[in-house]
């Protein structure tokens, strides 16, 4: 049918748009429930946007309905800042690491040497660094641990019949994975994701953080990148995997999975009562401690992170990597600007197309690193110390290209959280980026989407369907190739939600196909 051909021509563009928005929405869902410093502004409960017809109490919070996937979410600038790269190309996986930053209470200043305190434990993905502020009486060791790793990726495959030119079998194949089907399944998948992020142990930590204005022993940060260092076998053994059933498209499938630690709930049991600043009389360097074990008050030796307000000379992640040998990070190449730049390598590591955005739970301004042009890339002084897998910071003189800026993967500092009562202690926490390593195929295969569910199983009695004689029928959804879904919804508002008959010429979903739009080449997405 002619209409089929018309619809078929717009299908790839619409599918691409859905996939792109899926990445954005999934990132939003994850960060909204893991990024306390942005969410806390919206969590007060005072922001009540009630619908005009409601007369509910102020205890309910109603948000404007988000047009995409019918899923309204709170504002999350962290998600918006990180998604631009994947808007341009969703072929790269999106890896979101949720990092738990803890203040170590077992640190013994008398027995801890600077180097020991600063060595990054590569195998355990735990990093320890010395946090020294202006207040020289407070020397503490912070540790960070990846407690969750979310992977969103689109596995592409050869399209069997792209363009749908002629042939009954071709059009049938398109109909089985048409845009509205993809949209529907993506919507369901995102809702599952929404629930899952709130069921995992990290959510409890998040809730404790945003609900309590008191000083705690931990904090949450996150990193968004396209490539990360894979976990070791030991680490992965400590984590559990949850794999969502992929959503098939005509040319691939959308995959979503998470690796998470299930044994972090005890972190929040740390006392959260207000802690008044107190002097540690036997801090390292005090007369009461071993006079030989003094920490330098000036610039730290190479290989040590500096979180002093006095500024850093190096980002600690860079220094550590430099000190690490062969598995370390190769020097960035000036061609990093390219989305698929490659390093000069001994190993086939590849610089991620986008910088890892490290969002830190602090906002204390710090001096820029002198030996980098990172400043122009990262307006926030915080991130001048923490280069991401955006490698330009590692080598002096490297210019960050405009292409990188274009990808808008610049880390953006988290707004000041002093209002929330979190002490300066956490302001200097830096989440160094993961090294710009590209995992090997085999390790990437670990993250491939499997339909098996490894979560604790329960008995599920299901009634299997008779068949799918009607399941595959189109439901008359008009797909709009217009990039603005709002426009689509306004057109479809007068339509019934459930048409009596499945009619391709009508629509019942948020997507509306305007036949004029289908012929508009300008509305097509290009990758």
């Amino acid at each position: 049918m002619a209409s089929n051909h018309g619809n078929t021509n717009s299908e790839p563009a619409t599918n691409e748009q859905i996939i792109t928005e899926f990445f954005a929405k999934s990132l939003h869902i994850i960060l909204e429930s893991r990024c306390p410093y942005v969410s806390s502004r919206n969590y007060s409960g005072e922001q009540v946007l009630s619908s005009p017809s409601s007369s509910s109490s102020s205890s309910s919070i109603f948000w404007p309905r988000d047009k995409w996937f019918n899923l309204a979410l709170k504002d999350c600038s962290a998600a918006l800042e990180n998604i631009d790269f994947w808007r341009q190309s969703y072929l790269e996986p999106m890896v979101v690491d949720v990092v738990l930053v803890q203040r170590s209470s077992n640190w013994d200043p008398l027995n801890c040497s600077p180097k020991k305190a600063l060595v990054r434990n590569l195998s355990s993905k735990e990093r320890y660094y010395w946090n020294s502020e202006n207040d020289e009486y407070r020397n503490e060791v912070m540790s960070e641990k990846i407690i969750e790793r979310w992977v969103v990726e689109y596995e592409s495959k050869k399209c069997s019949n792209i363009g749908g030119g002629g042939g009954g079998s071709g059009s049938k194949r398109w109909s089985s994975t048409s845009s509205h089907t993809l949209y529907k399944k993506s919507t369901l998948l995102l809702r599952s994701l929404y629930v899952t992020v709130r069921l995992l142990p990290a959510y409890k930590l998040f809730r404790d953080l945003i609900s309590s204005a008191q000083i705690g022993m931990y904090n949450l940060g996150h990193r968004v990148s396209s490539f990360v260092e894979p976990f070791t076998h030991t680490e992965e053994a400590e984590m559990q995997r949850f794999v969502f059933t992929p959503v098939d498209t005509a040319c691939g499938r959308l995959c979503l999975s998470v690796l998470y630690r299930s044994s972090i709930s005890d972190v929040s049991s740390e006392p959260s009562t207000p802690m008044s600043p107190q002097f540690i009389p036997d801090y390292v360097g005090s007369p009461m401690a071993d006079p030989l074990k003094t920490f330098p008050s000036g610039p730290l030796p190479q290989g040590s992170p500096s979180f002093s307000h006095l500024g850093r000379r190096h980002s600690w992640s860079y220094d550590l990597y430099k000190a690490s040998p062969p598995s370390g990070i190769p020097s960035p190449s000036p061609s990093y600007s390219e989305s698929h730049a490659t390093f000069a390598k001994p190993h086939s590591y590849r610089l991620p197309p986008t910088g890892v955005t490290c969002h830190l739970p602090d906002e204390t301004p710090q001096e820029h690193v002198k030996n980098t042009n990172y400043d122009e890339y990262s307006p926030s002084p915080n991130f001048s110390m923490s280069p991401s897998p955006s490698p330009p910071t590692y080598t002096p003189g490297i210019h960050i290209s405009n292409a990188l800026k274009r990808s808008e993967s610049a880390p953006v500092s988290i707004p000041a959280i002093r209002a929330s009562g979190i002490p300066p202690l956490f302001y200097n926490q830096m989440l160094p980026p993961s090294p710009p390593l590209r995992p090997s195929k085999s390790s990437l295969a670990k993250m491939d989407c499997r339909s098996t569910l490894l979560q604790a199983g329960s008995t599920v009695d299901k009634i299997f369907p008779f068949g799918k004689d009607e399941a595959g029928r189109l439901t008359g959804v008009k797909i709009s190739s217009n990039s603005s879904p709002q426009k689509s919804i306004s057109r479809s508002s007068s339509r019934l939600s459930f048409p009596d008959d499945y009619d391709e010429s009508e629509f019942s979903g948020p997507f509306v196909v305007d036949e004029d739009d289908m012929t508009d080449p300008g509305s097509r997405m290009t990758i």
């Binding site: 369901l188 599952s192 299901k462 009596d500």
Partner: protein, 193 residues
């Protein structure tokens, strides 16, 4: 049209469940006024039922449907509902046993009754939360595995497909009949035990 039915793992609660109480920071808001009101009414109804009939197995059935054939007939104005998904939530409320008997096995041990009751309550709550979490994951698993039967997403400002909630208990004479009736309406799906 096929109907997917899911029997969720039975939840056992000692004593009447506390409605609307946050369980392990799991947000239990729906976000829509009308749906919240409807759900709260059903919850209240369920609580009343449990309190009146303790030690009974109760079942909540959440059914999603499509409206078919709106034409009224001579005998009824009911519109035909075609159920495409049904969830059976089994809740078993057990009257919690008294924790203190007349004699103690350890007369020399002084037990603070308040602490013991509080600890037991916490233990029960923890167990219930764990079961609830397990059931929620079960729901997620099912939702993810079965998507083809779901109708197109309605373009409503609300949050959901049309649905209905029915509550029944093992003491009801219509307990089984209600289920059978739905099964007949949905076209004889095959029940797996």
């Amino acid at each position: 049209m096929n109907c997917e039915v899911c029997q969720l793992k039975e939840l056992v609660s000692l004593g009447p469940p506390e409605p609307r109480q946050e369980v392990e920071h799991i947000e239990v808001q729906c976000g829509d006024v009308e749906h919240e009101k409807k759900i709260n009414e059903k919850i209240d109804h369920f609580i009343d039922r449990v309190e009146k009939h303790p030690n009974k197995k109760n079942q909540i059935c959440l059914s999603f449907y499509e409206v078919k054939n709106k034409q009224a007939t001579w005998f009824t104005n009911k519109v035909e509902r075609h159920y495409w998904e049904q969830w059976y939530i089994n809740l078993n409320t057990v009257q919690h046993p008294k924790t203190h008997s007349g004699k103690s096995h350890h007369p020399k041990v002084v037990v603070d009754p308040g602490e013991t009751a509080s600890e037991e309550r916490n233990a029960r709550r923890t167990a219930l939360e764990s079961s609830l979490r397990e059931v929620l994951f079960q729901i997620i698993k099912f939702v993810n595995e079965k998507k083809d039967h779901v109708p197109p997403i309605p373009n409503l400002d609300g949050v959901s497909f049309p649905y209905e909630i029915t509550i029944s208990s093992s003491s009801d004479s219509a307990f089984g009949m209600d289920m059978l009736k739905r099964m007949l309406q949905t076209g004889h799906p095959t029940m797996l035990s």
